[in-house]
């Protein structure tokens, strides 16, 4: 467990910034990677977005006022970077973001960095059909086991709203799987 307040102080001090930043990357690199990966799907894209996220954190840390928790702020940057990335790709292809996600998931079967079985692939396909917000809530709650309160701090949505989104997402996933198997 790291002392966030002390770490932010070190990050905002030019003398200790690099050492503290190394600690920050070490602590959060995997958590942020998996969060980003589930949004952008491919490993290479996740790598790009993760690097850009940390660069933005490095550049923005001096203005970070600790109104929110450090990890919430970093997750927010990672989420925005990932969605911007996917939107940009979708715009380049002249398709909407849901189509883009479905296309990315359809490439998973031949992806060396995906080892999921049939049911895991079906679940990814089902998630890709959800609206963006529901995808985020489902991934953060179901795969990352985050608490509603934590998700609320990151996405800026009320806990009640998140519960409703998660329920909608789960129902749609169940229907998708049922339809596919009938």
């Amino acid at each position: 467990m790291i002392d966030e307040i002390a770490l932010v102080k070190e990050l905002q001090n030019i003398q200790t910034k690099e050492r503290a930043f190394r600690i920050l990357i070490k602590v959060y690199k995997e958590r942020l990677y998996w969060h980003i990966r589930k949004i952008v799907i491919s490993h290479n894209d996740a790598d790009d977005v993760l690097q850009n996220t940390f660069i933005k954190v490095f550049k923005g840390i001096d203005n970070f006022k600790q109104d929110s928790k450090l990890y919430s702020w970093m997750y927010r940057i990672a989420t925005n970077e990932s969605i911007t990335f996917i939107n940009k790709r979708a715009r380049e292809r002249n398709i909407d973001i849901t189509e883009m996600k479905q296309e990315l998931v359809s490439n998973l079967q031949s992806d060396d960095c995906f080892s999921g079985n049939y049911i895991e692939l079906t679940l990814q396909n089902a998630v890709a059909t959800l609206p963006e917000k529901q995808q985020l809530v489902f991934n953060m709650k179901y795969f990352d086991h985050m608490k509603y309160q934590e998700i609320s701090e990151i996405l800026g949505t009320t806990v009640g709203g998140l519960k409703a989104s998660y329920f909608q997402a789960v129902k749609k996933i169940e229907n998708y799987i049922k339809k596919k198997h009938n």
Partner: protein, 170 residues
């Protein structure tokens, strides 16, 4: 003999007994949905199936630290430079717009530093379309003509920008 539940009496009892326990606000709201969600997800796979290349995370800190030191991390072509300048100009217009609104129209708690910080964090990720759209939303008559940015501030901002190195070199 059957026990007849007297709901109003039972409810009164639970009210009268001071247990000291409290629950978060709106705790019972949507609890049915939550329970149904749990029942459904029990049948779903627990893993997402994604993996990374071997050793991917091992050297990651060094990659990022290297990037923070290397200001010339990307080759910027002339066209992209122009786009960057347009982005900077658009950011200034947006800043003026929000700044004038901030001063005259609202009691918002956003400070100028926060707006600048937001622009700093997000301006680069705005596409040309988004900037163009934002600019069509701005009524230039609304911009406070007395709100100006000092030349020194613009120069300092440009000097702090990584991209200006390329402009100087060219």
């Amino acid at each position: 003999m059957k026990r007849v539940i007297n709901h109003s009496k039972d409810l009164k009892l639970t009210k009268d007994i001071k247990t000291g326990f409290t629950i978060p606000e709106n705790y019972f709201m949507g609890i049915e949905d939550e329970l149904f969600s749990r029942l459904i997800v029990e049948k779903l796979p627990k893993h997402d199936g994604f993996k990374t290349p071997k050793g991917y995370f091992e050297n990651f800190e060094n990659v990022i630290i290297e990037r923070t030191k290397n200001k010339k991390e990307k080759l910027i072509h002339f066209k992209r430079k122009k786009i960057k300048l347009i982005s900077v100009a658009a950011s200034i217009v947006l800043l003026l717009f929000f700044g004038s609104n901030f001063i005259y129209n609202t009691n918002t708690e956003l400070s100028s530093e926060e707006i600048i910080s937001w622009l700093d964090m997000n301006a680069n990720s705005l596409s040309n379309d988004e900037i163009a759209f934002a600019l069509t939303e701005v009524n230039t008559n609304d911009i406070n003509p007395y709100l100006t940015i000092k030349n020194e501030d613009i120069i300092e901002s440009l000097l702090n920008s990584n991209e200006v190195d390329y402009l100087i070199e060219e």
